[in-house]
């Protein structure tokens, strides 16, 4: 990059369209912004990303992007320029519902883990919003919904918060409700395993043997019969079914008196 694209005429010309910021990791504490790569969770060299004036990462984290041609740089620029234009439009005309909805969707899609699902849903319903944005949100929605349920639980455990058990219960119930509503994460998703386990736990808590069995079968299929948690899950399901049967028998016996 440094011996080629970053010396080219197109690079010099295009650099007027952005603020070029250079971060050199030097393993010297007196140099500027030495911890920034870690803050942005960037792990490889070289890394190129677009940021806004608040430092929010807009483009380029994953998959790693290199502006090594005019075309590649243009792809990144096009994405962020739309965002900048929309922000300006909304600032100048706060009543512009379409611009506002587009902005909500684009900004939300940048970080689905922090998104307000209801706000995004409302934005997606605004007439005049580009179809591809609505489709992208539809694909991301289930993942975002799961993350909004899962993240409070995960962070409570990470920080050993006092309310972690309550957060766990909320996550279990939330995932179970998603499963019942047919809002299932794609099994190729990186967060599918916790979703599946929490849904299973939720089904057990709700004494829903049908969904618990469904989750367990899928778990075994995806993670194998020798998975170290599988046996425990099977035992818990068997216990729940047995106790449900006891309750059933007890209630039949009770009605006969």
């Amino acid at each position: 990059m440094e011996g080629g694209p970053l010396l080219s005429n197109w690079w010099v010309k295009e650099s007027k369209k952005f603020v070029p910021y250079l971060n050199i990791s030097a393993q010297l504490d007196d140099k500027p912004d030495q911890k920034l790569m870690r803050e942005y969770d960037l792990r490889g060299f070289p890394s190129f990303v677009f940021l806004d004036d608040s430092g929010l990462l807009l483009f380029g984290r994953e998959p790693y992007w290199r502006p090594d041609s005019l075309l590649s740089l243009g792809q990144g620029l096009n994405q962020v320029e739309v965002l900048f234009q929309l922000r300006k439009m909304v600032e100048e005309n706060p009543e512009d519902q379409i611009a506002r909805a587009r902005l909500t969707l684009i900004e939300g899609l940048l970080d689905p883990s922090r998104v307000d699902v209801a706000r995004m849903d409302a934005a997606a319903k605004v007439e005049g919003v580009p179809e591809e944005l609505v489709e992208e949100w539809a694909m991301t929605r289930i993942e975002a919904k799961f993350l909004s349920i899962f993240e409070p639980y995960r962070s409570a455990y990470q920080n050993k918060s006092d309310d972690r058990e309550a957060k766990k219960t909320a996550a279990i119930e939330g995932c179970y409700r998603m499963w019942v509503a047919g809002e299932k994460l794609d099994s190729t998703s990186g967060t599918f395993r916790p979703f599946l386990v929490l849904s299973f736990d939720g089904a057990l808590a709700a004494r829903d043997a049908f969904i618990a069995e469904d989750c367990l079968a899928l778990y075994e299929e995806l993670f194998g019969a020798h998975d170290r948690f599988l046996k425990g899950m099977k035992v818990r399901l068997a216990k729940m079914v047995a106790s449900a049967k006891k309750v059933e028998v007890g209630s039949i016996g009770g009605s006969g008196e």
């Binding site: 010396l7 952005f18 050199i24 030097a26 140099k31 790569m37 960037l42 070289p46 677009f50 940021l51």
Partner: protein, 76 residues
């Protein structure tokens, strides 16, 4: 016994001295590499900003995105 203890003290001092000298040499080498990186042709080609705070201020003023390039000088 006293002689042994003095020798041990001297050995510790030597180790500390060697460590601090090599650390100083290490950071001198890092500084040299950093300056070499900054002197590269690509850095001179356009006006790079080297502080994120400054980049944010310019971004706000000109309503332009920041293109951040993360590289390293401590290794090739």
């Amino acid at each position: 016994m006293q002689k042994f203890s003095a020798l041990r003290w001297l050995a510790t001092l030597c180790v500390l001295l060697v460590c601090s000298v090599s650390l100083a040499q290490g950071s001198e080498e890092m500084e040299k590499r950093y300056q070499e990186k900054r002197a590269k042709k690509f850095v001179q080609k356009i006006e790079w900003v080297t502080s994120l705070d400054q980049a944010k201020a310019i971004s706000k003023q000109k309503n332009l995105p920041i293109l951040a390039y993360f590289t390293r000088s401590y290794a090739p």
